[in-house]
Amino acid sequence: MVTNITNFGRSGLSDWLVQRVSAVVLALYALFMVGYLLLHPGLDYATWNGLFAQTWMRIFSLLAFVSLAAHAWIGLWIVITDYIKPTGIRFVVQIAIILAIFIFLVWGVQVLWGA
């Protein structure tokens, strides 16, 4: 048993499961977006704004953002633990990444529910 404290879910099993479930959510969101853009060739601001004014789209988008945050945390944590061996530097990089993910997530919520 290898002890870890900076990974997403404290357990490799939960990280692995979250990584796969979030990947499915992101795939569905990406497919929806591509499909929507293909079905609306002459997309204008009003239509785009109308899409995101609907509650289901906001929930779907927030779900995708949360999935992206978890997916990025787990994925980058794995990359960092492979390549950055000095604990001090690794910890600082991890904190920076987690902070960036948090900022992007809050910003995303603000975009979805803001004016």
Binding site: M1, V2, T3, N4, N7, S11, G12, L13, D15, W16, L17, W77, I78, T81, D82, Y83
Partner: protein, 236 residues
């Protein structure tokens, strides 16, 4: 005369400041030799050449090495299978400390093997004669017990290169599953609890280098998938 050009990794830490490649010309007499035969001819040319070998028939797992970029057992690999453009490049197994020439320190590989407790654990009272197993239960061990611990797979695995102290590696995980799958072993829960961290099993990214190089044709990636399934099935 049919000469084979062989380039061999040489390093003697007592005399060399750095490893280097030494060129040899080996007369194969037109025969499709095994790589180990080529090394034996080289050993006659230069007796300081160091490599491990024992059974010379793919059973002992001593002569695992990197031949033209691919890990394998020198004794069961024909030069026609690995030689590119008439040249053979021999290096030690990647990722392990070199003791001398093609001899590597397998310490960390064995440490990971030891960690998965590679022995049958059963806390129930031993029956008078032996613990019985049905033919179906025995079949589950096929493809698992044949491992000879040559380390070709683990040293072909980038996840093992980066974290040999934390990731068990394909060889160890194949054996971990060998005991998880054994109907006579009762320590399944304890074994699984030792493997659920982000490194021991989950550092496997499924690139299947282990499957590609295994000289016994085993499939550690499949065993790792089975361990993940067991971990998932035992979790809430």
């Amino acid at each position: 005369m049919s000469m084979l050009q062989v380039s061999v990794y040489r390093y003697n830490p007592e005399t060399d400041s750095a490893p280097y490649m030494q060129e040899f010309q080996v007369d194969t007499q037109g025969r499709d030799l095994m790589v180990l035969n080529v090394l034996e001819i080289i050993k006659q040319q230069d007796s300081s050449m160091a490599y491990r070998r024992s059974c010379r028939e793919g059973v002992c797992g001593s002569d695992g090495m990197n031949m033209n970029g691919t890990n394998g057992l020198a004794c069961v690999t024909a030069i026609s299978d690995v030689t590119k453009n008439g040249k053979l490049v021999l290096r030690p197994l990647p990722g392990l400390p070199v003791v001398r020439d093609l001899v590597v320190d397998m310490g960390i590989f064995y440490k990971q093997y030891e960690r998965i407790q590679p022995y049958l654990q059963n806390d129930t009272t031993a029956p008078a004669i032996e613990r019985l197993q049905s033919p179906e239960e025995r079949d589950k061990l096929d493809g698992l017990y044949e491992c000879i611990l040559c380390a070709c797979c683990s040293t072909a695995c980038p996840s093992f290169w980066w974290n040999p102290d934390k990731f068990v590696g394909p060889a160890g995980l194949l054996q971990a599953y060998r005991f998880l799958a054994d109907s006579r072993d009762t320590a399944t829960r304890e074994r699984l609890s030792e493997l659920e961290d982000p490194f021991s099993v989950f550092r496997c990214r499924g690139i299947m280098n282990c499957v590609a190089v295994c000289p016994k044709g085993l499939n550690p990636t499949r065993a790792i998938g089975k361990i993940r399934e067991l971990l998932l099935a035992n979790a809430t």
